[in-house]
Amino acid sequence: MQSNPQLNANGELRHLLSIEGLPREVLLSILDTAASFVGVTEREVKKVPILRGKSVFNLFFEPSTRTRTTFEIAAKRLSADVINLNIAASSQTKGESLLDTVANLSAMQADVFVVRHASSGAPFLIAQHVKPHEHVINAGDGRHAHPTQGLLDLYTIRHYKRDFSRLTVAVVGDVLHSRVARSLIHGLTTLGTPEVRVIGPQTLLPTGVESLGVRVFHDMREGLRGADVAVMLRLQSERMRGALLPSAQEYFKHYGLTAEKLALARPDAIVMHPGPMNRGVEIDSTVADGPHSVILPQVTFGIAVRMAVMSMVAGTS
């Protein structure tokens, strides 16, 4: 299983499993296609007929309302039929294996599987076993990757900043557990971003994170100095229990984004957050609702990006 499972023999996108391993041209192609779909989302009839007759199965082994909803909206705007499966509730608890679940759905004429799973690598396993006309889109696997989120983050940055080759981007927070961070970092480095920084306490940064091509900062003020983009990661409450952090208060004091800390970044810096936000933990309300924040546009771009990804993979043979 050594060749890149995402691309077919012609180098076209057959599945979207991770940003890592995607050539630069494919990444840019996705962003450009997404731009066309933004146009569709802005007009009154928000549908195009491209996936008419195709079935998109949302296989969410980890519960998620917002991501699943955006995939559903994206698929419906492409005129696809959408079936939502909350596996957590049903067959998994009966002990059915992941591959058996997929095989059963495949027998129901699926074209695209959108998969979210708690175990890193699950979508790769599925992609190895689907039929030639079936396509897998990773909606988040464990800590490993969340490629559509990474793509919409890249799209957002490109929308506001245009040229990656001049940017300093800071990713702040729980990088250790974040698939969003990993995907974004891979995308930024592939697109030639000269300075990608991660900011957080040592307990929240994975071993050897520099090997991803980032500079490590433990001091948030230093890390934000001169930054063009600040991406705030969500801090889950379980982290306090795992002896990774003592309290949300202490975390906010040193790693929460406030107007005062943001002032160290460039005056035209943008603030991003994959959502959902913990106000007062990783980000101050005034900043979240302030002029630097592009958190809401991220959501709109997310639909166009997912439309682009779905129409690109579903069209390869």
């Binding site: 192609s29 296609t33 066309s36 195009v48 129409s311 069209g315 390869t316």
Partner: protein
């Protein structure tokens, strides 16, 4: 084989033909890529009030299942209301008619026009759908293994070219 007609002359001919027919309700949409070049020229010379619309039919093609999504689709921009409009739909070459069919489907997702007139620089025959052009520069014979394309030089001059189809 007969030489290809002069695109500049055909363009001038279309302008002359269309001038008496345009009014305050007329708007124009060009289809990427050759149709947009032609439309930009026509739009300027006809002095239309509404800005030019540009359209990419990538999401409405009927061959998605065979060819997949076209690389780098451009963005459709229609900076006027379609509802009740007299539309001039502009493309460079009319062939099977499938592009125009897709363009009309897309257009109707923006609204219901009063009428659509198709304007093309060249008609090479070979229709596979019941589509015809209301305004056509010239009929051109093209061998089946060749493609007829409109090109725009650095000086802005338009010319027709033949190239081998893949």
């Amino acid at each position: 084989m007969k030489p290809l007609p002069d695109a500049e002359k055909l363009c001038a001919g279309l302008v002359a033909e269309l001038k008496p027919l345009v009014g305050p309700n007329t708007a124009m949409i060009g289809l990427y890529t050759g149709g947009v070049w032609l439309a930009e020229r026509l739009h300027a010379e006809l002095g239309l009030a509404e800005p030019l619309g540009t359209m990419d039919i990538a999401f409405y093609r009927d061959d998605y299942h065979k060819q997949g999504l076209a690389r780098d689709p451009k963005r459709t921009r229609i900076p006027f209301t379609v509802e009740g409009r007299d539309l001039l739909l502009v493309d460079d070459v009319l062939y099977t008619g499938r592009t125009v069919r897709a363009a009309m489907n897309e257009l109707f997702d923006y609204g219901r026009p009063a009428r659509i007139s198709l304007v093309v620089l060249a008609d090479r025959g070979g229709r596979e759908l019941p589509i015809c052009a209301q305004h056509c520069g010239a009929k051109v014979d093209v061998p089946a293994d060749m493609r007829l394309r409109l090109r725009r030089g650095d000086d802005g001059k338009l010319r027709l070219e033949l190239e081998r189809a893949e």
